[in-house]
């Protein structure tokens, strides 16, 4: 099993007729994803290499049964695009758009919370979600992912997500799903959301988590792992030696206290029983060992189904 997406997910690409939307939308289809429609206002009736384009998400849902959306539009258009998808009944929205103003993100998050409680937004400013061999929504290269599990990946960073996939695939360790949650101030989906989904997914047996400095998402993840998670977690947190940005004002420090630094995050994760690696390569190696020990334990306990 995978989380959030699977081989039946039907994707509408909002912005399919743009250069980015076309490039990534067609790549996702070539990977095997069911890319069933595109949406560009005013271009309804056209097609992109056989993918029909509609004026609205509502029309794409009605005609093609789309249940997930891939938002690839400029930052000024992204908030409306996300809300239009939610209003059309889309359950999963993946938005890769960078540079959306923080106030717009907060407004979108508030509206989704109030009016569209069943819609999940991943991103903005994220690489997307891939369930290897089943579905790829976003900009992750499918070539570096390996189907079959048993590892779930959740990451805040783009290239480090790819690095994590690559490290595991090269060692022959597959992934159930890899979710890039993005590093923006108001992420639609948090570490805790993804960890909960991996904890509930019977095919995910271990989780690789890639964090970075800033915010307190990793600390909250540590709280969740300590309280609820029974599956092993290997983590890497980037930014131990990162330069401190010019610190303006005290509000951030009052809100988060010592939270936010790489050191605080690593300490919180270790205290929650997470195996923390000093770099992405060693995180991959440690995960390989974790998976080997799982295989041993599983072979001893019960045969693989």
């Amino acid at each position: 099993m995978s989380i959030f997406v699977d081989e039946n997910t039907r994707v509408v690409v909002q912005g399919l007729t743009g250069s980015q939307g076309r490039f990534h939308g067609l790549r996702n289809r070539a990977y095997g994803t069911k890319v069933v429609a595109g949406v560009t206002p005013g271009k309804g009736g056209q097609d992109v290499e056989g993918i029909p384009v509609y004026d609205t998400v509502e029309a794409a849902v009605a005609a093609e049964g789309a249940d997930a959306s891939f938002v690839v539009v400029p930052p000024r258009a992204a908030p409306d695009a996300i809300l239009q998808a939610a209003a059309a009944g889309i359950r999963l929205i993946v938005c890769i758009t960078e540079h959306i103003p923080a106030k717009d993100e907060a407004y979108v998050a508030a509206l989704l919370r109030r009016d569209f409680g069943r819609t999940r937004l991943i991103g903005p400013n994220c690489p997307g979600v891939i369930s290897p061999g089943k579905c790829n929504i976003g900009i992750t290269s499918g070539d570096i992912a390996l189907p079959g599990g048993p590892v779930g990946i959740v990451s805040r960073s783009g290239t480090l997500t790819y690095q994590a996939l690559h490290e595991l695939s090269q060692q022959g360790v597959g992934q159930t799903t890899c979710v890039g949650i993005g590093g923006d101030p108001v992420p639609g989906t948090t570490f805790v959301d993804v960890l909960q989904a991996f904890q509930a997914d019977p095919e995910t047996l271990a989780v690789m988590m890639i964090g970075e400095i800033g915010g307190d998402g990793e600390e909250r993840a540590a709280d969740y792992i300590k309280a609820e998670m029974t599956k092993p977690v290997v983590a890497y947190v980037a930014g131990v030696t990162a330069p401190e940005g010019r610190k303006m004002g005290h509000a951030g420090a009052i809100v988060s206290g010592s939270r936010g630094t790489a050191k605080a995050k690593i300490e919180a994760l270790e205290a929650a029983g997470v195996i923390v690696a000093p770099n992405p390569t060693e995180a991959g190696e440690l995960m390989v060992k974790v998976v080997e020990s799982l295989d041993d334990g599983r072979a001893a306990a019960s045969p693989r189904q």
């Binding site: 103003p101 907060a106 900009i139 290239t159 101030p185 890497y236 004002g249 509000a251």
Partner: protein, 382 residues
């Protein structure tokens, strides 16, 4: 974009936040002329983006022209924690009865706005937060609801501001909230917000961080251009659209993606070296971007080796390799490159680099071996 105090006060004024009137000055003569116009007594304040300027002698009261001239001469050029003062803000002196603290920011975890108000402003507010957290009133604000006058009044009452300050403080809170939301600020902080001896409320300081991503709807922000407090290379990098931060070490860093760049710094540090910079060239890595990045690093005399760390996902490693060779044709490098290319088509990329027989590129297969090689080269060249 972080605003200087005087810019923050000018921004406040647009939203009706009360401040003390004043003028900016870059020379002693300008400062004295401004003080004469404003009328004594005045306060001269160093415009630097660092805390603790008062203790460093960057804020002085002048009762007359002679004192204004003396203080302006002392503060201009003053080094405050590495920030050299190039501009003064001169404003009418305020008779302070009480000092409060107010801020608006985003609570990332709760995905709503947060308003903090304390009756114990002026002093070290982080100390107050640590030792007496209950003396800071915290109010979550739903972006769909906003902050109205009644909620603002309740918040200043919850913070137990003095009775005589509450009316104007509530008005000020509403104005600051508008500045935060309509003004697209990531942070609005006033410390201190003061009650004057005449019973009025004024923002005596202003810390404003604007959300650069909202610049498209604020053409007026161009007036906040910096006046030279920025590192030369940071400026050069910004012009080329690169995300660069200068550091003190000897290993120049180029990586694609902020996370990978941070991770590269970590690994260089882990093997005993130190980075000369943080430089994220973004997800792609074509010849132009690479040449620009190498140009920026090449102007740094501290650099003894350049570590290029690229992970090819959609951008293929062979394209990156060709880009680097093209870039090398355009930039005469002062230090050798240690190159780590991994991901899609990495083997092909290594063949391309090998066949080029460039004596300024060393290739390594992993981040750690590349970091070790770069640190060794930097150490032997020092």
């Amino acid at each position: 974009m972080d605003l200087y105090e005087y810019q923050g006060k000018q921004y406040f004024a647009r939203f009706g936040v009360p401040t003390s009137s004043g003028e900016a000055a870059d020379t002693v003569a300008e400062a004295v002329a401004a003080a004469d116009r404003i009328g004594y007594p005045v306060v001269l304040k160093a415009q630097v983006q660092v805390g603790g300027r008062g203790k460093a002698g960057g804020v002085k009261l002048a009762a007359n022209r002679e004192e204004a001239e003396l203080h302006a001469g002392n503060i201009l050029g003053l080094d405050i924690k590495g920030h050299v003062t190039k501009r003064l803000w001169i404003e009418k002196a305020t008779d302070i009865a009480r000092e409060y603290y107010v801020s608006f920011t985003l609570d990332r975890a709760a995905k709503v706005y947060l308003c903090l108000v304390s009756a114990r402003g002026g002093i070290d507010i982080e100390e107050v937060a640590a030792t007496a957290p209950d003396s800071i009133a915290r109010l979550h604000i739903d972006p769909l609801v906003g902050l109205d006058r009644a909620a603002a009044a309740a918040q200043v009452a919850a913070a137990e501001l003095d009775e005589e300050a509450r009316e104007e403080a509530a008005d000020t809170l509403v104005a600051l909230y508008r500045c935060f939301v309509e003004g697209d600020a990531d942070l609005v902080e006033v410390n201190p917000l003061v009650l004057t001896t005449e019973g009025h409320v004024l923002a005596l300081d202003a810390k404003v961080t604007l959300d650069d991503d909202a610049g498209f709807r604020h053409p007026e922000w161009t007036e906040f251009v910096d006046f030279g407090d920025v590192d030369v290379r940071e400026r050069l990098a910004k012009e080329k659209g690169l995300n660069y931060i200068g550091l003190d070490g000897s290993v120049g860093i180029i990586a694609n993606g902020a996370g990978l760049a941070m991770s590269t710094l970590d690994v260089v540090n882990q093997v005993g070296g130190s980075a000369a910079n943080f430089l994220d060239i973004g997800g792609g890595a074509n010849a132009d971007v690479m040449a620009n990045a190498l140009e920026v690093i090449n102007t740094d005399p501290k650099v003894r080796a350049i570590l290029v760390n690229i992970f090819g996902g959609i951008v293929r490693c062979d394209e990156v390799a060709r880009g680097i060779l093209t870039a090398l044709g355009r930039v005469a490098l002062a230090s050798p490159i240690v190159l780590r290319l991994d991901g899609t088509n990495a083997a092909e990329a290594h063949r391309i680099i090998e066949e080029a027989h460039s004596d300024s590129i060393v290739t390594e297969l992993t981040m750690i071996s590349a970091a070790k090689a770069a640190v060794e080269i930097a150490a032997s060249a020092a």
